[in-house]
Subunit: 198 residues, 2 copies
């Protein structure tokens, strides 16, 4: 009856994510996308509707990808505090791999969209809230496991941790980031472990 698209949608979205993640929304042109996705403009618009819609889907792919590591570690059943510390320590690898950018794509998106009403901005904020909720949940589990002091506030700890991660990753974006990131990641991991009371 009909014909299927010749490209793999997930593959295209991952490529779009990497390009947007590296260059940001405004600096990425349709020409850039055509080259990287190996798609003509007509195909892009038939499949995704608009540059903004494509970006939104790419952002969701990014968020989905970031979700897995921490969630897996937390659900593995070991010490929640260890999982959080391990997550911090894993940031030292930020500079090794050849990734599109070291900074968080959600943060980059929020910073380059000052209009709080813009759909892209709101999506990025929602996804960041979800990420924050996962950190908070991590500290909640740590408290439930008796790893934290009685008066520890999981919400405050979770938000502080997210803020620290955001800072570390933004800081890591600098050209000489590789020189300092491992030490900063270690500092962050130890500050988490220092919360342990049991």
């Amino acid at each position: 009856m009909a014909r299927k698209a010749t490209f793999n949608r997930d593959d295209i979205l991952r490529r779009a994510r990497d390009l947007f993640w590296r260059k940001g929304y405004h600096a990425t042109s349709l020409k850039d996308l055509e080259q990287v996705l190996e798609l003509k403009p007509g195909s892009i618009y038939a499949a995704f509707g608009s540059k903004e819609a494509l970006f939104s889907e790419a952002l969701e792919v990014y968020a989905r990808g970031s979700r897995s590591d921490l969630e897996a570690a937390l659900d593995a059943g070991g010490s929640p505090l260890d999982a959080l510390a391990q997550h911090a320590r894993s940031l030292s690898a930020l500079c090794d791999q050849d990734r599109p950018a070291r900074a968080c794509m959600l943060v980059k998106t929020i910073l380059e969209h000052p209009d709080e009403q813009s759909p892209v901005r709101q999506l990025a904020e929602t996804l960041m809230d979800e990420a924050g909720a996962r950190f908070i949940d991590g500290f909640r589990r740590a408290k439930a496991a008796g790893e934290l002091a009685e008066d520890a506030d999981p919400i405050r700890l979770g938000l502080k941790f997210q803020s620290d991660v955001v800072g570390l990753r933004a800081f890591a974006q600098r050209s000489d980031g590789a020189d300092v990131v491992p030490a900063l990641a270690e500092d962050l991991a130890r500050s988490v472990e220092a919360l342990r009371v049991a």
Copy 2:
């Protein structure tokens, strides 16, 4: 013999700084600048040469402005550690004022310029290195004043502090940033004060 420009250069640069700070480099068009600066394109180009050159000057104005507070506090002769903690605490005011953006303009610039060779990116990095050097200097003075432990590493502490500030300010950019920033700023200030041994 000749004629003077009718506008005040510093005033124009402050306005350009605020616009670029808020919208970022790529999303700011010459049309935007013409409106905000109340200058015709010819005047802008006669005075500054190019959009990039104007941005660079605006970025330097930004950096010069950010420099003053901490430097004054450190040079006031009181406790260096108190000056640093006070600087952290002052971040809680980030959300009160009606500023162009809560995030650091240098960080925003680095994040939206992935090409490490671009002049704008290199300028932003240089200015950020200088800011980091001031933090490091603060901890050096604190150590010299006997406020820090013998084995404290001012460089590491300074970079960690800068990373925390970057994170806090980027985090503060979120729509509901006002709800959490004061608590995060207080946490950061206390973590500085916790370093005190004397």
